[in-house]
């Protein structure tokens, strides 16, 4: 079988009808990985033996017709811990780290009898927008091997786009799910902050981090979010509210739905012409489906990137203090004293971008700069959050491009941190406000996919999925596949 052709729903159907076995599905996944991985480089670690063993068990127990995810292969971003399987966060400092327990999401996908096939490449500690800061390898965009897949969840996006796996998990602190989904022409959801437990996610910016699914279709995405959502006593920011079935009413359409398009997003000066055109066409599609689309304003949008880089880096500088070479991870062999264990292990173990962020965060939190930096960024965050609250008083959804440009070239921005940071301009406000947002394919510019971003109210992923599904059914962009 050719795994690249099937969605989760289709695979489930075939598994239930016994047209294929879970073992055959897993074998097809590894056949596809063997065929494409040299070009794509999506995985840091593959767990073929464990996956086949797991598939054998699923086949033995039989596919549960009610559990759509039973026997479906999945890839996991390498900053989500997996009991007994090496987890590196794409850093040298965790090169030989074997977790002793599962992250809550890992546990949940295993409980759903999904089959983990490996750990996916990413920017080191999720810091970057191109997956180029990984200590291990470069991941290439399946649509054009000279382009980046985006980041930080670049491996998670590239593997799904290349047809290696139907589903993967990524994480999004400032756009790290939505931007790579846009760059590779697939569906990527950042749920509301608090919707999915962060327990067992290697922390970057704790007040921003969320885990979410990558899939090739909107409905598949909703199915996976169903499985990973829910309250968790191990995450103090986990939401206690009920988890709805995200697929319920997904086919209801957008008639009468009020969608706001922020002036600031469409007139962003770095916006590529082809991206703007694709988004304008998407607006017309929504109107033709009966939605009411109007221009709105998120006046503090341009302050999102500076506020984000202070907040995320400050939180990271604190979170990454735990990597000290003592209890786990890399320990420098040069260290003669305990202090040297800390300093040399960190200096040799962290890459450049991680050091830059730790330094910026430490600076922003240091005495004398705290008020001008961290406090000011926290106040800006309040203003950005209020921008969204104001629009959501009258509108059900906000629509715009996911990224100002399509995928950029490998090596093109890596030496210019500020250019790299500015490519997050349309995604970071969402994390600062804590609202959910999806990226879905909406066209092509220079033969590269363009992503459409739909932003919803806190804990209203359902409206996002409903609109995304209606758009997907009305268009064919999700059917386009890269030529590999």
């Amino acid at each position: 079988m050719n795994i690249t052709n099937y969605t989760v729903e289709e695979l489930h159907d075939m598994l239930v009808k016994k047209e294929v076995t879970a073992q055959e599905v897993v074998k097809a996944v590894f056949a596809r990985i063997n065929e494409t991985e040299e070009k794509i480089g999506a995985f840091i670690t593959l767990t073929e033996e464990e996956a086949l063993e797991q598939a054998r068990k699923v086949d033995e127990e039989g596919i549960n017709p009610i559990n759509v995810l039973s026997g479906i292969p999945i890839g996991i971003k390498d900053n989500i811990i997996t009991d007994g399987t090496r987890t590196t966060a794409a850093s040298k400092i965790l090169e030989d780290f074997i977790p002793i327990y599962d992250a809550t999401v890992t546990k949940k996908i295993k409980e759903a009898t999904m089959i983990p096939v490996g750990k996916l490449n990413m920017d080191e500690f999720a810091m970057g927008g191109s997956t180029e800061t990984s200590y291990y390898k470069k991941t290439r965009n399946p649509w054009n091997l000279d382009k980046v897949p985006g980041g930080s969840s670049g491996g998670s996006a590239a593997a799904v786009a290349a047809g290696q796996i139907p589903v993967s998990l990524g994480t999004d602190t400032g756009g790290s799910i939505r931007q790579p989904a846009a760059f590779t022409g697939i569906v990527g959801m950042k749920p509301t902050y608090g919707r999915v437990s962060r327990f067992g996610l290697i922390a970057f910016g704790s007040s921003l981090d969320q885990i979410g699914p990558f899939t090739r279709t909107v409905k598949d995405n909703a199915l996976v979010l169903n499985a990973i959502s829910g309250h968790d006593a191990n995450d103090s920011m986990s939401y206690e509210g009920a988890v709805p079935d995200f697929t319920a009413g997904i086919e209801a359409g957008v008639k009468g739905m009020k969608i706001g398009v922020p002036t600031e997003y469409l007139n962003e000066k770095g916006l590529e012409v082809g991206v703007k055109e694709a988004v304008l066409k998407a607006i017309e599609t929504f109107k033709s489906l009966g939605a009411i689309v109007e221009e709105v304003s998120l006046p503090h949008s341009k302050y999102g990137v500076p506020a984000y880089y202070i907040i995320a880096s400050s939180e990271a500088s604190s979170n990454l203090q735990r990597f000290d070479g003592v209890r786990y991870g890399y320990r420098s062999t040069e260290a003669k004293t305990l202090e040297e264990v800390f300093v040399k292990s960190r200096t040799e173990g962290f890459g450049m971008e991680v050091k830059r962020r730790i330094m910026l965060g430490t600076f922003s939190l240091s005495s004398g700069f705290y008020d001008a930096h961290f406090k000011k960024a926290g106040q800006t965050r309040t203003l950005i959050r209020q921008d969204f609250d104001n629009v959501f008083k009258e509108y059900d959804l906000i629509l715009g491009p996911t990224t100002p440009t399509t995928a950029f070239g490998i090596g093109e921005q890596i030496d210019d941190p500020i250019a790299m940071y500015l490519s997050d301009i349309l995604t970071v406000p969402v994390n600062l406000a804590g609202v959910p947002a999806i990226s879905i394919p909406c066209g092509f510019s220079n033969d590269l996919p363009v992503g459409l971003q739909l932003i919803g109210k806190h804990f209203d992923e359902q409206t996002i999925y409903k609109a995304a599904y209606a758009f997907e059914q009305a268009t064919d962009f999700h059917k386009e596949k890269p030529n590999l």
């Binding site: 608090g194 920011m237 880089y309 300093v343 600076f363």
Partner: protein, 101 residues
Amino acid sequence: MAITEEDVKHVAKLAKLEISDKGIAQFTKQMDAIIDMVEQLDELDTENVPVTVHGLRTYNVMREDKAVPGTDRELLFKNVKTEKDGLIKVPAIMENGEAGA
């Protein structure tokens, strides 16, 4: 405001990172540019604007104060590089070794 090489050296020390002399110059230049970017925020009037530092809620969540079994000790040592008598072994804390303490 410009950040100096001295500032960068001080921050590196706080962050427990070692940066070479050549690296200091590069870091200073890059951090200066980043700080320049973030200082756009000075344009905003934020007087009386509350600070948002949390993602979802402002209160802390506590579990019930009840003893529960912890993680198995042997398991916890799985990623430890060097151990001795059930403890993590590290180089001496003081420069003169144990005698210096």
